[in-house]
């Protein structure tokens, strides 16, 4: 395990003023280490897969289909899915379609505040390759350059049925222990940060750790 107090291995937090630097930690994120016994890890994964709590952050048009999903007709509570108002309690971040640069900044903040293990589902065609906003000056084109994505549900809009299917696919993936998005984020942290800072020009927040 890396020692976060080692000066060679801390974050610069160069976007913050000196005063603010005292308020935020500069430790790097740590990768999730599975339980040494496989049966215990499998059990943990089974539990995680059946209590997916979604962060209530409608980042784009996709949010409109989350409401039918969560209410009486499609009733995602059947799958152990519930909406949570705060990132600290949620494990799934559903990116509702296109992300403008201003929203991307908030997405990064919310994502980093989420406790691991955490999973990201992208809705629609826009996070994959810009979709119909491929030439827009304010929407990013490839979402996985900035945040690791575990699952894409494509379409415009993906129907609630597609959302149900993608939740089931995510559960399957988690149970198989293949959802390593958060770990990829830790391992390639510098690459992700460089990409994020390339599009977010006014970086006035800590590099990690909220």
């Amino acid at each position: 395990m890396k020692n976060s107090l080692n000066t060679d291995d801390t974050l610069e937090n160069s976007g913050l003023t000196e005063e603010e630097q005292l308020l935020f930690s500069n430790a790097r994120p740590r990768a999730y280490e599975p339980y040494p016994i496989k049966a215990v890890e499998d059990f943990a994964n089974w539990a995680r897969a059946n209590s997916l709590w979604i962060l209530a952050f409608g980042t784009g048009c996709g949010a409109i289909e989350l409401r039918p999903l969560m209410t009486a007709r499609f009733d995602a509570n059947r799958f152990g899915v519930a909406g949570r108002p705060t990132p600290r309690q949620s494990s799934v971040f559903i990116i509702g379609g296109y992300a403008s640069v201003k929203t991307l900044k908030r997405i990064i903040r919310s994502y980093e505040q989420m406790q691991g293990p955490k999973f990201v589902i992208c809705l629609g065609i826009c996070p994959i390759n810009g979709g119909m906003y491929f030439d827009s000056y304010n929407t990013i084109n490839q979402f996985d350059q900035y945040i690791p994505v575990d699952l894409y549900a494509t379409g415009c809009m993906p129907r609630p049925e597609a959302l149900v299917a993608s939740i089931m696919a995510l559960q399957k993936k988690i149970k198989a222990g293949e959802c390593d998005g958060a770990n990829r984020y830790v391992e390639n942290f510098d690459w992700y940060k460089a990409n994020q800072k390339k599009v977010i020009k006014n970086w006035d927040m800590p590099d990690y750790n909220w």
């Binding site: 640069v101 201003k102 900044k105 994959i128 390759n129 810009g130 491929f134 030439d135 827009s136 000056y137 304010n138 929407t139 990013i140 084109n141 490839q142 350059q145 390339k198 599009v199 977010i200 020009k201 006014n202």
Partner: protein, 180 residues
């Protein structure tokens, strides 16, 4: 309507009066008398509703045309007030004292075109963009596609067609895409 236009022509020297449809007339007014004219229309003529204000970039003539759309609820008539300002000398009289929503529009125009409205509140605050470091995006010389490709990039393997050429080939395959 004609009386009003005659009076405006006499008092403010408006020109380019065009009846676009029965309910919409547009005219052009000089920059200096624009604010007085709009105030007069609001207070005396019952054009109490500001539908919107916006800007058209005529890059070929080197001007911005500001458009103020006013509406009279009683007569059910709309007036489009056009004001030409230079693209370089981008100052315009602010109308934030006339309508509460006007400063929001002016903030947007400041961000999207770079037009300055001296005295308008919160003008320098970000409206839609954050940390923008290029020329204002709604100006005609700003190429959004090029910007997007440089800043955000595209996934390899993306393939796109110019719709017109593509459809010609699709519709007239036997003639090599020639529709004649």
């Amino acid at each position: 309507m004609n009386d009003l236009m005659e009076r405006l022509q006499r008092d403010f020297g408006v020109d380019d009066i065009t009846v676009r449809k029965p309910a919409l007339t547009t005219f052009r007014v000089k920059k200096d008398s624009a604010e007085t004219l709009i105030r007069e229309l609001r207070d005396r003529e019952g054009y109490t509703h500001l539908n919107f204000m916006t800007c058209i970039d005529y890059i070929e003539d080197g001007i911005f045309t500001l458009v103020y759309m006013l509406h009279n609820y009683d007569k059910k008539l709309s007036l489009g007030v056009h004001v030409d300002i230079s693209r370089e000398n981008e100052d315009m009289v602010s109308i934030h004292t006339l309508w509460a929503q006007a400063w929001t529009y002016q903030r947007e125009l400041r961000e999207m075109y770079g037009i300055n409205f001296p005295g308008s509140p919160r003008l320098e605050e970000d409206f839609c963009l954050e940390g923008w470091d290029d020329i204002p995006p709604m100006r005609r010389e700003f190429d959004t596609k090029e910007f997007s490709e440089q800043r955000f990039g595209h996934r390899e393997g993306r393939h796109s067609e110019e719709p017109r050429d593509h459809m010609k080939v699709e519709l007239y395959p036997n003639r090599g895409g020639d529709e004649k």
